[in-house]
Symmetry: C2
Subunit: 325 residues, 2 copies
């Protein structure tokens, strides 16, 4: 990272006081808010609050102040908004549109490594065009959840002075809008994608070589998520490999990747600097949050965490991976 351009403080600003070096964030997350219907070997959940933006916002909120940009339908009520408010998430960027909220329904079987999508209804999400409210324009940290890369770039350019910009994408955009995605990649700092996506984006099977090729497209840092096999970090300071936390039971893998990204970006927003050591810690905090996410259906485990739960699992990760010279 080490961006030479630091944010210019405006001493006259009233809505956004100059942050002291120790005040974290804020982190802005963009993506879908959805109602998910999920079936796994452990049970069924119907129309629970989900979507990348929800997982990103809730996990990051354990580390830094969070702002969210998304579109919601008229079926998303007070009880759902309260979920964000109780986590102190700034919902000024939630736009309500006429119609139904985005709905996704999926099923996990066997080793639950992959979701089988049963149904997708874009609904109000189809017309999503994220324009940031004025009170968001001092945002320092930005994570662009998995949406059309053209929209991602549109948001990114509204925050020219952001200190750190992360982005997630998926097969659909890699195949369908490769040029739009490449334009977006040229203007971000960190790309967070999974193993299959990294291979597809680069056209290279070997992950180390794939990472080299992808980093040449723009992002100085690449995080490759490998599900139950953990995470690889590729940066200008070398490589870092973190395992997934071995759990007795995975009840619902939905949102694991977004929870990783939320913990990862939330921690960096809190740390305020992006050294190799901080990036490694961020990967572990991301992995911690993903490990909690999958323990229960939907957002439920993530909403009743304590800071102590997070620190305890961080230390368990240390114990899981350490060995002496």
């Amino acid at each position: 990272m080490k961006k030479p351009k630091s944010k210019v403080q405006n001493p006259k600003s009233k809505t956004s006081p100059a942050p002291s070096p120790k005040s974290p964030g804020p982190l802005l997350v963009v993506g879908a808010v959805a109602f998910d219907s999920i079936r796994t070997p452990y049970g069924v959940a119907e129309n629970v609050l989900g979507g990348a933006a929800s997982y990103l916002a809730v996990t990051a909120s354990w580390f830094a102040p969070v702002r969210v940009v998304a579109v919601i339908g008229d079926d998303l009520g007070e009880e759902h908004l309260r979920v964000f408010e109780e986590r102190g998430i700034d919902t000024a960027g939630l736009v309500r549109a006429k119609g139904k909220t985005f709905r996704w329904s999926g099923e996990y079987t066997g080793d639950m490594n992959e979701a089988h999508t049963l149904d997708t209804q874009l609904n109000v999400f189809e017309q999503f065009s994220p324009t940031l409210p004025a009170c968001y324009l001092d945002t320092e940290y930005l994570f662009l959840g998995n949406i059309d890369p053209t929209l991602q770039l549109h948001v990114r350019r509204q925050l020219p002075r952001a200190r750190l910009v992360g982005l997630d994408s998926m097969n659909y955009w890699i195949k369908g809008t490769p040029e739009g995605l490449k334009k977006a990649l040229a203007e971000i700092d960190i790309l967070v994608i999974n193993e299959t996506e990294a291979r597809m984006l680069s056209g290279i099977t070997n992950l180390k070589k794939a990472a080299e090729a992808i980093r040449k497209l723009g992002p100085r840092t690449l995080v490759i998520k490998r599900g139950e096999h953990g995470v690889l970090l590729f940066s200008e300071d070398g490589n870092f490999s973190a395992p997934a936390f071995p759990l007795d039971e995975v009840h619902d893998p939905t949102g694991a990747g977004d929870s990783f990204a939320g913990g990862f970006m939330g921690y960096l927003a809190k740390a305020g600097e992006f050294s190799d050591g901080q990036l490694r810690r961020a990967v572990i905090y991301g992995s911690v949050m993903a490990s909690f996410a999958v323990e229960e259906f939907g957002l439920s485990r993530l909403l009743r965490l304590t800071p102590k739960d997070i620190e305890t699992r961080y230390r368990e990760f240390k114990r899981l991976t350490q060995f002496d010279e």
Copy 2:
């Protein structure tokens, strides 16, 4: 580990002087010596020296004195025996039989995670019944490569005072001779198998639960190999997760698992104690040896290593995995 029964030294023995506390090993490895024919996207090798016993012996020889028990045919000449001798491997347990040496031919394509066996000729291996020469009976460390579990148990019982016994197996025995395998598992200390085998042996998909079930069958320590996704260690002291070393190019995956086991057991034989810390180091040394094995066809990279190569890669593993509290 912490076996209370320590080996009784025989002061009259001439062939095997009582080892001083600092002299490592010896480690006895049992398995197939083979001629392999291998095709990968990087090239072809015809009739090169291979087989589990060869990979085990050569990798372990970088850490401790090694003895090998295997059967060879009359087509295995001086130039092949010299490979063992140049690594200081004791070949008193190589039995020559009439006929051809075991031959295997296989192909790797795509991401090279799995070998497609093209041909297997057991040849002299069909009549393999490993009886240890008298000069091997003071062996302290034993690794039973992947052969019929009845034969593994037969060897294990010839060394009732062995300090540490490891075993590898495979789908073929797990399905075909489950009772024989369970008898062998009851009399060993460490089981080293891959992910698929662990799930098949336990009938449990979740690896943490599978490990619990398998450890109840006998082995206090279980090592689960996950190929490019690294290694999991389950012991009475908890879990340890090690990544595979990210390589630019994997030229030939043949023998990676046996090279892991050879480095793992060789290091433990050198260390002479089996604390949690030593088991973790052993996992990393095993991973180091596996990472070298796949860099070139057959045994070639493993034969021209230096102790410095091994230590350098060990430190690279440390760098790859470390993060601060």
